[in-house]
Symmetry: C2
Subunit: 194 residues, 2 copies
């Protein structure tokens, strides 16, 4: 297998393991074994475990960018509907996954923010990118008079993401999709109706 293809396979298998077990608690050899790559060859593909972590975050970022493109930037729907579809797509994912895992960005932020500045900065940039997409969509909703001009879209996009991240923790904890239904209800039927 070519170097690049093997690298991608390691990242994908690592993503799988880390999504459940966490970054610090998942060993390099465990990842290589899952990817069927020879033990000890990790540093042929990555400069360090942190370097691997950064490429892992890029992998998640690209996954999310495709969702943003498909749902948040869908020109055929109203801005609020796009936002709803975006979160509903993730809800379907979590339903299929039995309410496990949660958001890899949120998980890594929680795990790494106090102990690894490289991770913290990269994750902060990732969240900020997602926040921009949501803010943009909310600004369009305001322009289209779908939501009130009294709402501050900057504050709102922050709060929506924070609420989403917390709802995913409770989803994992309760092994129930209900927290995501509550999120949807509170955001779309209460807050955006203000």
């Amino acid at each position: 297998m070519a170097k690049e293809a093997t690298k991608i396979k390691i990242i994908q298998k690592g993503a799988d393991l880390i999504h459940t077990g966490g970054f610090n608690n998942t060993g390099i050899n465990e990842i290589l074994e899952a990817a069927s790559v020879a033990k000890g060859s990790f540093y042929f593909y990555f400069k360090s475990k942190d370097d691997f972590g950064m490429q892992l975050i890029d992998y998640y970022l690209n996954y999310n960018r495709a969702k943003v493109e498909k749902y948040l930037n869908n020109p055929g729907l109203s801005p609020v509907q796009r936002l709803k579809d975006f979160f509903n797509d993730y809800k379907r994912y979590f339903l299929k996954a039995g309410c496990t895992r949660g958001c890899p960005f949120g998980n890594l932020s929680q795990e790494m923010s106090d102990t690894n500045e490289t991770f913290r900065k990269k994750l902060q940039k990732s969240f900020s990118e997602l926040e921009s997409s949501i803010k943009q969509c909310l600004a369009e909703a305001q322009k289209a008079k779908e939501i009130s001009r009294s709402l501050d879209v900057e504050i709102l996009s922050n709060f929506i993401i924070n609420s989403w991240e917390g709802s995913l923790i409770t989803m994992k904890l309760e092994k129930s999709i209900e927290p995501l239904n509550i999120f949807e209800h509170m955001v779309f039927d209460v807050i955006l109706k203000v």
Copy 2:
């Protein structure tokens, strides 16, 4: 030192280390060393690392119960003011802690929910206890006509806790208290004013 006092010391030092480093990633010997307790004596105090984990959660629960008693159950203030004071007390804690650590219940829920049923059930019970206290306070706010009867206090208490947990992740990530200010604004100036 008496057995019980040593046990409490181990739990306190363990709480400190786990709050930053996570449960799986904090070793038993590391905890004993921080507590100045002889290496190898862990099983004299605890049946297992999980048993220690359960007592750690009880330790956090008691800490939170005191806050609930002091703020949420304060008969001298209006229900909404009590709720505000409760979250503000934690905000002061996080300001002092330089926006690190986050909520131990949220952290452990995120880390353990998919891999350890003993933790998951105990944490679920803990969150459910906190939710009840908040729901009770919101119901009293409704009775006192401080908030609208159209709000469902069950859904609301869930959403408030979820939003709080997510806001703490972003606080850790951004090393800024702003996400907690946004939480306060959205809950008290927007949602509870519906």
